[in-house]
Amino acid sequence: MICPFCSLLCDANNLNEIHCDRRTASIAKYELRKRLSMEMPQSQIDSESLLTAIEASMVSALVQRFGEKCHVAVSIARDGSGISASVDGQILLETEVGRLCAPMAKQEITKALEAKEIDSQRWLQSANESLRRAKRILVTGRVSSVATARSAVAFAARFNATLDFAEFGNVFKNVLAMQRVGMNSVSLAEARDRTDQFIVIGDDTILQTVPRMPIALSSGESRGQTVLLLGDFSMASHAAWRNAGFDVWSVKCDLKSVPSALAQWSKWSDDLQSDSPNSKSLVSPLFQRMANADYTTILWCAENLRIEQADLWVERILQWIASRNEKTRCAALPWSSFDGTFLQVCTWLTGFPGRVSFRNGEPKYDPLRYSYECWLKQTQGSSDPESVVVLVDETIAANSFLTPLARKLLGNNVVIEMTGSSAQFPTSIAGLETTADMFRADQTVLARVSPCSMQKGIAKPASYWLEGLAP
């Protein structure tokens, strides 16, 4: 499977085999969905899980009705005393907080919940009406499978919509820099096999995002691979890399200054090569070691680059890497997340990596104008109710796919939601509940990821819903 948290390829057979800090919140939300769907009312759900669901405000539940399973929307209120779902006044599912989640008594949930049966055809019809009336449509969210990415592009073309799946602009930091100056890059397995020196730029959040990265990059041989951590890394990060077999060096520095630091190091390195007077005494053993590296790989996670105008920062790093290759070998390993799959599919279908508008029937690319944030800003404050946002999320990630800014800007726009927690169009998690073709986050390997048998769900993939919408 592709780890649904960090998009590395790994061979874990189920979620419990994946150990990472990021796992907790995501699995809590996911497990809650599963329990509501399959096991209510007998299951025990811990307070953290339920609160996650409450935060999501809506979950979809599966209930038994007339011998058939059907989806109902379940609202969970903070003050709910129990959870029940009824359709046409008939109670289908009822439980008390105490039974549902024993430790929840402290949360003072007191009120029963309401639920509505979902008629997917009716919802599709209603969504189609909204889309037909709409003058502006945005498709956004988080897509991780080729099938949904294809459907999303086709949907945008059908509805002359704007398309931006690059969540938080993560991948676009790299794409914009690459489009200006090109790139020397390396894939994961190549870096693991060939690199003798890694330079990891960022902070501890890299290992929260990609907890298995040190293991994935370690050749597992006593090759003396070195890692230089540049930025703000704690001892925990040092230990993680060391435990994976790396010789760890660390330099604490402001991320913004990293390009300058690298340039300075190049100068020292050149001095060292030229054997200029005193050069050997001026440079530290670390720099000597770096200068002697055969193959250096620079790694950063776009998601964790909290630098203003990060694309310019990436551009300077890429230029530095290009200059290193004049004499030795050096490459970038810019780690993205799930965005890579959409980026690739959109590129081969439209010629552009996303941030595309089909306004006049043909794809137009503008990485600034057609970002979802820009689109939302343009529609904010408008009294025109004919702007529709189609939100698609087929990932397990716990955090909301909209930045606080975007959430605020959603305003009065009509929102058609296709996510795991949506009531109208509940979607499966790609690669976990349904088979999906997904790119590893270095965008080299397109793997077919089959669902773990334990996690097979019954919700339909987002592509199914997107294909059901037509003008």
């Binding site: 790994c10 061979d11 489009q179 397995a189 190549e190 279908l349 010629g351 073709d437 390997v445 077919r448």
Partner: protein
């Protein structure tokens, strides 16, 4: 449904050209029935020619580097139509491609508009074979296939270094081709891509890889033996060492010798036959290569013709693409080291007719076409998009068929090219039959596509009708009709319907021991299991997609 086309001249390179009926029943061409038979559709087309669908055996239409090139160059994209616009009133053949590397839909559409019905991606990196197939699946109207990129994969090189039995290599190659659902094997700069990862900047045919100590010659020998042993229909497809370097003809001839008489296909041969003579130490060695091809029937080539204008070069040959980095226009390039298997280099490039070397490349390509006598062993390609976009094929056909037109372009080249080239002495003008052989029958035979390439009974009814014209460029730019599997899908600039398409893969029996052996090795090398990257046959099938198998007919 039975269809009859009559009144038109049939040309397929097998039967004698002449006016006769072409009849197809359902998906295949059938014998002309006796008089009185009723047809579901009849087309009387005097002053037209009827030919089989075109086959491009070397065109970069899918996979990692193609998509990277698209991603790198949004600034080169002009206004483009999208698939929601199925019916076009505007004659699209007058427009250039929206980009040197257009999206999949435009690629399929523009190929069909020229009368091509099958295209082959020649460099499928094992790690992203699924991506290449996914892109080709999204390329409508065309049957597709891919050649698997081997010869720089570390596992293979380690085994060659360690002297493992040839049978083990054969099993490995067979497993790889089957697992990645390809129909042939391609080698790009044998060992050179990997050597560059070890900072080796040059590797000719008998140089040693700095890390593995093996030579490209040894890799070529080993792989050509494997291809022969596996009975792959298409011979080893080779991109030689020393791409683009002055004097590289020596390495090219040594490459031919390296395979010791086994079948061999040299790809984009134009880039591999340069001498060191002439005013700038860079000259044509086309005659040397063409003479060899003319005398050695185990050889075939595609040319990789250059045309003037903006394009983008993309190749697995990172070593030589990197060496050319300063020539990138616009000034940006991408180089990738990939997955212990290969790499890629993407460089935007502008061929200028007033530039000596660019003009020379143009003449060398044309020379090769004109000097190789058998049109069944020289194929019309531009190595899209490396030499030029595939939409320049009609122009290229005119260059080959019309001496005066050729000379009119030649007269605009750099004076030193005009002074040194022998092109004016080559008065050969291709006949239309030769063009049809070169673009249909020849590629079909080279790829083992026994149901394509001609109008014989039992062949697939992929049929193209062109209106005769004194200007071959105009004629081959716009067919009147294109039938795919007996169904009229395009007529007079209008796309009438979608078409079923096939993925062509090699039929190979895989040794089960190799399967388990590789499962273990793969995990150690790549960190994931073979199951994740194996492309299952079912993945290649859908409502409109089928799978066809090829293998060498030993008869």
């Amino acid at each position: 449904m039975t269809t009859r086309i009559h009144g038109a001249i049939c040309i397929d390179g097998v039967a004698e050209s002449g006016i006769r009926d072409v009849v197809f029943d359902g998906e295949t061409v059938c014998q002309v029935p006796a008089n009185g038979c009723r047809f579901d559709a009849e087309y009387y087309l005097p002053n037209h020619i009827v030919v089989a669908g075109g086959i491009d055996l070397h065109t970069h239409i899918g996979g990692g580097k193609v998509n990277i090139a698209r991603m790198l160059l949004p600034d080169l994209v002009r206004s483009q139509p999208f698939q929601s616009v199925l019916v076009e009133s505007r004659p699209n053949w007058l427009n250039p491609l929206s980009s040197p590397v257009p999206g999949t839909w435009e690629t399929g559409r523009r190929y069909l508009e020229m009368g091509y019905t099958a295209c082959f991606e020649p460099a499928v990196l094992p790690a992203n074979a699924r991506q290449a197939h996914a892109e080709m699946a999204d390329t409508p109207w065309l049957d597709t296939g891919g050649y698997l990129l081997l010869g720089n994969d570390r596992l293979l090189m380690e085994w060659i270094r360690d002297g493992v039995p040839q049978q083990q290599i054969n099993d490995y190659v067979g497993w790889m081709v089957r697992a990645h659902q390809c129909c042939a094997v391609k080698v790009v700069n044998a060992g050179g891509i990997d050597a560059f990862k070890f900072n080796q900047r040059h590797l000719s045919i008998d140089d040693q890889h700095v890390h593995y100590g093996i030579t490209p010659r040894k890799i070529l020998q080993t792989l050509s033996l494997a291809v022969e042993s596996l009975c792959l229909a298409h011979p080893l497809h080779v991109h030689c060492s020393n791409l683009g370097l002055a004097g590289n003809i020596a390495a090219t001839m040594a490459t031919i010798d390296a395979v010791e008489g086994r079948r061999l296909h040299l790809t984009h041969a134009q880039y591999h036959c340069y001498g060191i003579d002439g005013p700038h130490g860079y000259s044509s060695a086309a005659k040397q290569l063409a003479d060899r091809v003319n005398t050695d029937t185990s050889l075939s080539i595609d040319v990789g013709q250059v045309q003037f204008g903006q394009t983008v070069t993309l190749s697995g040959d990172t070593m030589h693409q990197f060496a050319n980095r300063s020539l990138a226009r616009p000034r940006k390039a991408i180089f990738q080291d990939l997955e212990c298997q290969a790499g890629c280099g993407v460089l935007p490039f502008r061929y200028r007719q007033d530039q000596y070397v660019h003009g020379l490349l143009w003449t060398i390509g044309i020379e090769l076409f004109l000097r190789v006598e058998d049109p069944l062993r020289v194929f019309l390609t531009t190595d899209h998009p490396n030499g030029a976009p595939f939409t320049s094929y009609p122009h290229l056909i005119r260059l080959l068929m019309d001496y005066d037109f050729r000379m009119s372009v030649f007269s605009r080249l750099h004076p030193d090219v005009r002074k040194s080239s022998s092109l004016p002495l080559l008065k050969r003008e291709y006949s239309i039959e030769e063009i049809i052989k070169m673009t249909r029958l020849g590629p079909a035979r080279a790829l083992g596509l026994r149901n394509r390439g001609s109008l014989e009974n039992g062949r697939l009814a992929d049929i193209v009708v062109y209106e005769q014209s004194s200007n071959p460029e105009e004629m081959f730019s716009r067919p009147r009709m294109v039938f795919r599997r007996g169904r009229l899908v395009y007529r007079d600039g209008i796309f009438l319907s979608d078409a079923a398409k096939s993925t062509i893969v090699a039929s190979i029996d895989v040794d089960s021991q190799m399967d388990s052996h590789l499962k273990e090795l793969w995990h150690h090398r790549y960190g994931y299991s073979t199951e994740m990257i194996e492309v299952q046959t079912d993945e290649l099938r859908s409502k409109m997609r089928m799978v066809e198998w090829t293998h060498l007919d030993k008869r």
